[in-house]
């Protein structure tokens, strides 16, 4: 499975309050997504296009366990996240909703804003348009790939629910 899109580059320690402020936690996804990253990149939510990729530094997603954080990112069309490291709860939440999140050493210095990037989710190979050298992400562990390929936990639950009717 592979992904191709434009890169949006963020820094270190992007927290879940920045990704989705507390006051929008109970808002419908459509509305909440409009405010994603509002305090650090006010026009970002509007500018994102389907298939785009987030590139970030260390400790991406630190803070709360709010699943709406990866949800709004996915809802806006982001196809995958490449970060140097993740807060574990965020990483697990991204996987749980079927949003690929890969760890890549030094990635925020290797990929520039609006670079066109190709990501091979199986091998973890990342190709930046115009750059010959392939960047290597830590490939997703099979345990995590399972959830991504099933479409997240929703996909798994759906399968169980359908099975009950057979």
């Amino acid at each position: 499975m592979s992904i191709e899109g434009r890169a949006w580059v963020f820094g270190h320690n992007i927290d879940t309050d920045a990704i989705l402020p507390g006051r929008y936690l109970s808002a419908p996804l459509n509305e909440a997504a409009r405010h994603a990253f509002e305090s650090i990149a006010p026009d970002w939510a509007e500018a994102v296009q389907s298939g785009d990729i987030i590139v970030a530094g260390r400790n991406f997603g630190c803070g709360s366990s709010r699943e709406n954080a990866p949800h709004v990112i996915k809802h806006l069309g982001i196809a995958c996240i490449l970060a140097e490291s993740y807060a574990r709860i965020f990483l697990r939440n991204a996987i749980a909703i079927g949003l690929p999140a890969l760890m890549v050493n030094d990635v925020s210095s290797l990929i520039m804003p609006m670079d066109k990037v190709h990501v091979d989710l199986d091998t973890g190979g990342i190709q930046v348009q115009g750059v010959p050298k392939v960047i290597h992400a830590v490939p997703l562990h099979p345990q995590m790939k399972l959830f991504i390929e099933a479409g997240g936990i929703e996909g798994i639950l759906k399968t169980w629910g359908e099975r009950k009717h057979e």
């Binding site: 320690n13 927290d15 879940t16 309050d17 920045a18 402020p21 507390g22 006051r23 936690l25 109970s26 509002e38 305090s39 650090i40 260390r58 400790n59 630190c62 803070g63 709360s64 366990s65 709010r66 699943e67 490291s85 807060a87 574990r88 709860i89 697990r92 939440n93 749980a96 909703i97 562990h141 345990q143 997240g152 936990i153 929703e154 798994i156 639950l157 759906k158 169980w160 629910g161 009950k164 009717h165």
Partner: protein
């Protein structure tokens, strides 16, 4: 080979010795859901899953939107009540009991050696009672509700060795801020933090709860204390017998070992907007504040209210400050009432609020306007956390919060005359 507490707990759960890095699937002892129960259980309902694996192992507490700030959340609470009944969940604590983590501890739903998950990142708080406890999102919670198990990767353990004893008016919160300042907000990324040392042996349960609670702010998966007589005695006092006295093996292997002499620690603050932007309070004094928040799962317990009341007895909160006091639970509230603490705080000019999360996560109950500064006893000071992204939050101990409320500016509690 010797094992750390996390390794022992995982090994015990799956019936074989685990090693760091192993991917395992483990049965869960208990789950805690706050209002997150609504989206989690809705996913079951949407997929015709009409049974929870073991309703006895599920605790549901309403705390984040209490009393309900909107019609919409009132409707959510109604739906939660219906779902609790439909799924046969007995351990349901509605709006009157307090913050989920405090309720879990007070009502005996946390036992040493257990693997506990919750729909809140501060589920790690239960590590103070020797449990491996962590926060998860609502989809993972739906999965656990359906199956009673979840996958894990066994984390490395990092040891925090504490020696010495806290000086007067220096609190466990100050210790956690010193740890953050020295080691950074990511030092324990996906690690099980284990607290040890002579200072731990002398530490009250309340102080341990602070340190376990703050562990997630350093990236930790778990923040665990060894089980000793403090823990066993507390559990016995609330009717929980036969506690598993879990401690690490003498030859347990830790990835890292950090030592702190807590005798040297002074009152600290975490400056906006990061928990590791730490300074001594005496270097931040004079910064004007508009709101002082005493409460949260970190520091809303009786010990915290006592410290604050001790400083504010016979004194007044500065007229330019709103001091909000949110006791962590109804039990804390009533005990504070009985000890006269609420009277002292109210007479000082503090506003006594319902046991709940309040403004901690930016929803309601005391938000900050643009340009305002708050000193808070909670656990996060990210930009926009408590309202306007144009506001500033300083994290501090209950003593520092109370002193600053009196002064009208950030103030070292030792300066209160």
């Amino acid at each position: 080979m010797g094992q750390t507490i996390a390794e022992k707990i995982f090994s015990h759960k799956i019936g074989r010795q685990v090693r760091v890095g192993d991917f395992i699937t483990a049965p869960i002892d208990r789950v805690m859901c706050h209002e997150g129960f609504f989206p989690a259980a809705s996913k079951l309902a949407a997929n015709n899953i009409d049974r929870i694996w073991d309703p006895q192992r599920v605790v549901v507490v309403l705390d984040h939107y209490v009393p309900s700030p909107t019609e919409k959340m009132a409707a959510v609470h109604t739906q939660i009540r219906q779902m609790v009944e439909r799924y046969g969940i007995e351990h349901f604590y509605g709006e009157r009991e307090g913050i989920c983590h405090q309720v879990m501890i007070e009502r005996g739903h946390v036992r040493p050696g257990e693997l506990i998950l919750g729909t809140d990142s501060h589920t790690c708080t239960y590590g103070a009672l020797g449990a491996a406890a962590a926060g998860i999102g609502v989809s993972e919670m739906a999965y656990v509700l359906a199956t009673g198990e979840l996958w894990f990767q066994v984390p490395p353990s990092v040891r925090i060795d504490l020696t010495g004893r806290l000086a007067d008016l220096v609190c466990a919160k100050d210790v956690s801020l010193v740890i953050a300042g020295r080691l950074g907000a990511e030092f324990a990324q996906y690690r099980s933090l284990e607290f040890a040392g002579e200072a731990v042996a002398a530490m009250s349960l309340s102080s341990r709860l602070v340190l376990s609670n703050m562990s997630v702010e350093f990236g930790a998966k778990f923040g665990i204390f060894p089980v000793d007589h403090h823990v066993v005695d507390y559990l016995r006092s609330i009717g929980v017998e036969n506690s598993y006295p879990i401690t690490p093996d003498d030859d347990a292997v830790y990835e890292n070992n950090h030592r702190f002499d807590i005798s040297e620690i002074e009152p600290m603050v975490a400056m906006p907007h990061s928990v590791d932007r730490v300074a001594c309070v005496r270097d931040a004094t004079g910064e004007k504040i508009h709101q002082a928040f005493l409460g949260s799962c970190t520091n809303g317990r009786i010990e915290d209210l006592r410290v604050a009341a001790g400083l504010l007895r016979g004194r007044k909160v500065s007229p330019s400050v709103r001091m909000l006091v949110y006791p962590a639970s109804a039990l804390v509230y009533r005990q504070a009432m009985n000890e006269g603490l609420l009277r002292i705080l109210s007479e000082a000019g503090a506003i006594i609020c319902p046991p709940s999360c309040g403004p901690c996560f930016g929803s309601h109950g005391g938000l900050l306007g643009p340009g305002e500064t708050c000193i808070a006893s909670n656990n996060r000071n990210f930009k926009g956390r408590m309202g306007s992204p144009d506001a500033s939050i300083y994290l501090a101990s209950p003593a520092t919060v109370a002193a600053s409320a009196w002064k009208g500016a950030i103030c070292d509690p030792r300066e209160v005359l």
